[in-house]
Symmetry: C2
């Protein structure tokens, strides 16, 4: 008796059979008395195929046109999903991002949602229809088609769930929930039943890969319970939610590895007020996501080395920007280190436990892994290590913090 948003990723709508299965799930949810919003991604390898087509024509296609191209993938999915629901004898209507009122800024290929107009959506829900929305896409105020970047369909689903105050946003995927760490690297990883938005945000940001950060942020901000679960079974997955009593009992909820990082160091930056603001302002303007910032001062405080880590995919853009800033503001140079990774432990429980960081450093030392840099926040401790040490570090921490299956931790 409420509103349920259901998001089906590319593997969950990969062919006609899977689309029909997703359709049946939505119908079942509706028959249980709920209004149902479906958000679907492009079918399986569609996006790859479209990217290939573009690559045959251009080495550096305009981003606006890439968005025009890629959004067709989701448009195909929504129409087929609507057909599947009709074929099963139920009412459905499909909408593109633009049609449903998903208004974004104009940063093509990684646009941000500005607002969601829900009038049309609510009208059709009220009429008893399952409303199917193309994930990943939006439209600017001027009507240009945009995409929300990686994991954008999750963001679409949670944003719509927030906008209509849905009771839950279900994320259907090919895994059955959120794990203590990546089970492909650590076979001892196990599913957790609950995780807080903050923990999940850290895990997502650190590369857990199940959901995109922005979707979790939306969920947290608007208190949308997010249920990450398998499209193949009815087994409950993992609830992402605000903290509840008892959740603090687990000190470390999960450990995460961010593998593809690169460090950029601006050498000899004049240590003047406003310099950091200028540098990171320009980086932000180019929508480069900075992972960590490390600044050290020398020459009696006149100069600083300003380092930051970015995703390897953003490195060439970050390097080019660094070079430009270097000329503009008189830095002494730009250095790049491509071979780093970051391993982190995450848990709201560590707020009330001491010695967690020390235990982590001990574990890495015992595994003969050198720590290049340490950063901490309230619920995270992270260590930057050489890329080749990443997996070993992850395994050591998973065991150290009692997360291995049958260690009796949770779930």
């Amino acid at each position: 008796m409420g509103i349920v948003a259901q998001k089906f990723g590319g593997t969950s709508v990969g062919d006609a059979t899977k689309i029909q299965r997703a359709a049946r799930r939505a119908i079942r949810t509706q028959l249980m008395g709920n209004d149902v919003i479906m958000v679907v991604s492009a079918m399986g390898k569609t996006t790859d195929h479209l990217v290939d087509l573009a690559a045959q024509i251009s080495h550096d296609p305009p981003k606006r046109e890439m968005d025009m191209l890629l959004t067709t993938g989701e448009q195909v999915s929504i129409s087929l999903m609507a057909m599947a629901i009709h074929e099963a004898g139920h009412e459905a209507i499909s909408f593109t991002g633009g049609q449903v009122g998903m208004i974004t800024d104009a940063y093509h290929t990684k646009a941000r949602i500005q607002r969601v107009d829900t009038d049309r959506l609510k009208e059709h829900l009220k009429a008893g229809k399952i409303v199917i929305v193309a994930g990943f896409q939006g439209v600017t105020e001027e009507g240009a088609i945009t995409t929300l970047g990686r994991g954008g369909s999750d963001t679409t689903a949670v944003a719509l769930a927030a906008a209509v105050q849905a009771d839950v946003c279900e994320i259907y995927t090919d895994v059955d929930g959120v794990y203590t760490t990546d089970p492909r690297i650590v076979p001892e990883a196990h599913k957790v039943d609950q995780v807080t938005y903050d923990e999940m945000l850290e895990l997502a940001a650190l590369g857990a890969g199940v959901m995109h950060s922005r979707a979790i942020e939306f969920g947290s901000k608007y208190s949308v319970p997010i249920h990450v679960r398998s499209s193949l079974t009815d087994v409950p997955g993992t609830m992402i939610m605000h903290e509840t009593a008892g959740m603090e009992d687990v000190v470390v909820r999960g450990v995460a590895l961010k593998r593809d990082l690169a460090a950029v160091v601006l050498i000899g930056v004049p240590n003047e007020p406003g310099m950091a603001s200028k540098v990171f302002g320009q980086i932000a303007e180019q929508n480069i996501v900075v992972d960590d910032i490390i600044q050290s001062i020398y020459e009696d405080g006149k100069r600083a080395n300003v380092g930051f880590t970015v995703a390897s995919s953003d490195l060439s853009e970050a390097k080019a920007l660094g070079d430009r800033l270097s000329r503009e503001f008189g830095f002494r140079g730009v250095e790049v280190d491509e071979g780093v990774a970051k391993v982190s432990i995450v848990g709201i429980g560590m707020r009330s436990h001491t010695g967690v960081a020390a235990k982590m450093f001990d574990a890495l030392y015992a595994a003969d892994i050198n720590i290049e840099h340490i950063s901490t926040s309230e619920i995270v401790v992270s260590c930057v290590v050489r890329q080749e040490d990443g997996e070993k570090a992850l395994k050591a921490l998973h065991t150290t913090f009692g997360l291995d299956k049958n260690q009796g931790n949770e779930g």
Copy 2:
């Protein structure tokens, strides 16, 4: 020094190489001092592939969702075309039908254009960009995505050309112009240099297949010269235009065959005032295109048999409607004949020549073909024949009216 609209059909944008070739042609046209609007169809077999996908899911998909699905094909093409032009160092921008202001009614799968908002188009032409528009598609006032039906991209191109008062609308295709008849059936057919809108309308309506009627109607109404030509060469094709001096000298411009016709006869229709209006009003409401109407009265004028021919693809819908009308208005029954074809001769010259129809009947008689029905208009004489006689009739008429190659007629 003008505005040129260029339409590239599916075979002209079938792969990356062909898209690049079309892009170069548009760029060349722009470099010659023209503003260029490109209208593109879906790549090669894309539409078939999408139709297959739908068929895997539904036997009778909602038309609105078919439009949602099929329009993705053109959206892929426009983005790739824009990339190709950018890659060649020129400016371009792509628009979906909705974005460019192609407003239609809500008859999904065969919508009609209501109006074209050209502000955005003109703005970008003024800025020196090649404007690329998705053919075949539009959007209702409410924002629902529609398609214009078969040949819709031609209609898009001519409608845009009309809206911006383009100097010419070039239709690029895999044939090099309009022929005296279908050269696949009559190898002696030859290309004509000029044809009037009226002649072309009749030829198109009669199945010549090069262009869709609606596009030609638009061209005629707004006096847009239409140049049908090959995408592979620079050889001039056929100009479709208003009548000029000398064009009347050719008595028969072309002969045409409409193969896939079916006749529906409403038996025993009460011959009351307004009955025809009711019957054909309802047929029109369902957007069934009636080819010919044949009415004969009997029982002292109290009853009539009302026959009409439709495309075979519309037969089941027409039959169902006939049955419903039959119950509603007390007809005696509905009869169907699936096996007919229509062969026609077309030419503005026949207005000023006598004996043209008689010559046609003679030719069919000499070829031992029975004529089931005759209809005439100012520039057309048509005979309904058995479907199996269609091609033989076409060949006989092509020869009789001096259209065979090397008969010295035209071109």
